[in-house]
């Protein structure tokens, strides 16, 4: 079963991602697993509810993480995000509060043309988590206490959008470590290459039309202090209702890697609503 999955599924994913790269169509940059260089509009509040689920390798049980989040568009170039997470991951028998996170992004470069743009942004993130350090995969969505610093560039040409980014992440847990005899990673570089494709509507007529977008992202991490890393492929679909509510479903599959992680596959579902002009 596992080999069937890796051969056929990966071939399918590989071909579909090539199609994405080659297609010249309405590009979308509202990625599911990464952030584009663009920000949410100034004076806007976005309320987001996210859920990640995976089958943990150590007991083969399905685990869930819930991530409510608020995003604020402070100025046209600067946004702030705050979120918390609850989960039954890290050997918990029931759902419990586990982490809080702050994220801020500043767009420092924009070159806009009609139906075209190139943008670049820097971002920083800090998280506190009550989970122990267990895995070599580092993330600030709930797993680890730590800081992250990144840069991302997004290009939209002829209605095709692609985004590439690199970030440095450092975990800050000193005492609470679960030693499984596997070396801990304290810092890593994270990379992403993300692409989006608008499937529907073919013709824009009004804001009520539901949009259907397809995404394909490549997400990678390489520890800088030990030899551990992975590359994931993350296909996703997105529905946008009334030009203000987004529903996202995506999955992550490890393509290759040798890092110790909670799971090599996960599913992420989120719902977010834009409150435009909500801030004075």
């Amino acid at each position: 079963m596992a080999s069937l999955f890796s051969n056929d599924m990966y071939r399918f994913l590989f071909v579909s991602s090539l199609l994405l790269i080659c297609s010249i169509a309405n590009g979308q940059e509202l990625y599911i697993f990464s952030n584009p260089a663009s920000n949410i509009p100034a004076k806007t509040i976005v309320a987001k509810a996210g859920m990640k689920t995976m089958r943990s390798y150590h007991n083969n049980e399905r685990e869930y993480r819930f991530m409510p989040e608020l995003q604020l568009g402070l100025t046209k170039n600067w946004m702030l995000t705050g979120g918390v997470s609850f989960s039954n991951m890290f050997f918990q028998s029931k759902q419990q509060f586990e982490s809080a996170r702050l994220y801020t992004k500043y767009r420092f470069y924009s070159n806009d043309e009609v139906h075209k743009h190139f943008r670049a942004a820097v971002y920083a993130s800090g998280a506190w988590s009550n989970n122990p350090l267990v895995y070599q995969e580092l993330n600030l969505e709930g797993d680890n206490s730590g800081v992250q610093l990144g840069v991302v560039a997004t290009q939209l040409v002829n209605k095709f959008a692609a985004s590439a980014g690199v970030a440095y992440v450092r975990q800050l847990e000193k005492a609470d470590k679960l030693d499984l005899g596997i070396p801990f990673s304290n810092q890593a570089l994270q990379y992403n290459l993300s692409m989006g494709y608008l499937l529907f509507p073919h013709k824009y007529e009004n804001y009520k039309q539901t949009n259907l977008n397809l995404y394909c992202e490549f997400l990678a991490q390489q520890s800088t202090d030990i030899k551990a890393g992975f590359i994931d492929i993350a296909p996703a679909i997105q529905l946008i209702f009334n030009s203000s509510t987004r529903f996202n479903v995506g999955a992550r599959y490890q393509l290759t890697g040798d890092a110790h992680r909670m799971a090599e596959r996960s599913v992420f579902i989120s719902l977010e609503h834009y409150f435009l002009n909500a801030l004075k």
């Binding site: 046209k76 806009d112 075209k116 804001y207 946008i240 002009n277």
Partner: protein, 170 residues
């Protein structure tokens, strides 16, 4: 003689009158309806407009102005930029009443300083479309093209003697 001057002044004041009716704004940097909606909602918060009609496909917005209101083109630009995008083109429909314009010269119209570039000297009457060619109202390349046609300091600063000057063409 005084009466004559008064009459001339009155004539000038009346003849330089105009009314801004509406504008067509094209935004750049977007392809999606969600982005367009952000601009649409942002523009609608302005007090001097009555309505906004949008064309998502071309990222264009037709903005109708309130009669007699003080129209602020910089505010229109700012609202587009707040939504995260840029102005590619801003064309304003104005009703002129015998306004004499000369190339590379300013004229006061409806309480606004308009500096005409790349135009023939002419008398403007009736409904005309003027295009704002100031910085950030059009792509940088096109701004540079107009910069080569004038030595006016106001084209760089957007001001003359502390008063906002909009540079326009027909």
């Amino acid at each position: 003689m005084k009466k004559f001057f008064f009459f001339i002044c009155l004539l000038v004041a009346v003849s330089a009158s105009a009314q801004f009716k509406s504008a067509t704004l094209q935004a750049s940097g977007l392809t999606c309806a969600m982005c367009s909606n952000a601009i649409n909602k942002s523009l609608k918060t302005l007090s001097f407009i009555t309505s906004v009609e949008s064309d998502i496909k071309t990222s264009s917005f037709i903005i109708n102005f309130k009669e007699g209101a003080d129209i602020n083109f910089d505010q229109l630009r700012k609202k587009v930029e707040d939504a995260g995008f840029s102005v590619a083109k801003l064309q304003v429909v104005a009703n002129f009443n015998n306004v004499s314009v000369q190339n590379d010269q300013p004229v006061t119209v409806a309480g606004k300083q308009l500096y005409f570039l790349s135009v023939k000297n002419q008398q403007l009457s009736g409904e005309k479309v003027i295009t704002i060619v100031d910085k950030n109202f059009l792509p940088a390349k096109e701004y540079k093209k107009y910069a080569g046609q004038t030595k006016a300091e106001s084209f760089k600063t957007g001001e003359a003697n502390g008063v906002r000057v909009y540079h326009v063409t027909i």
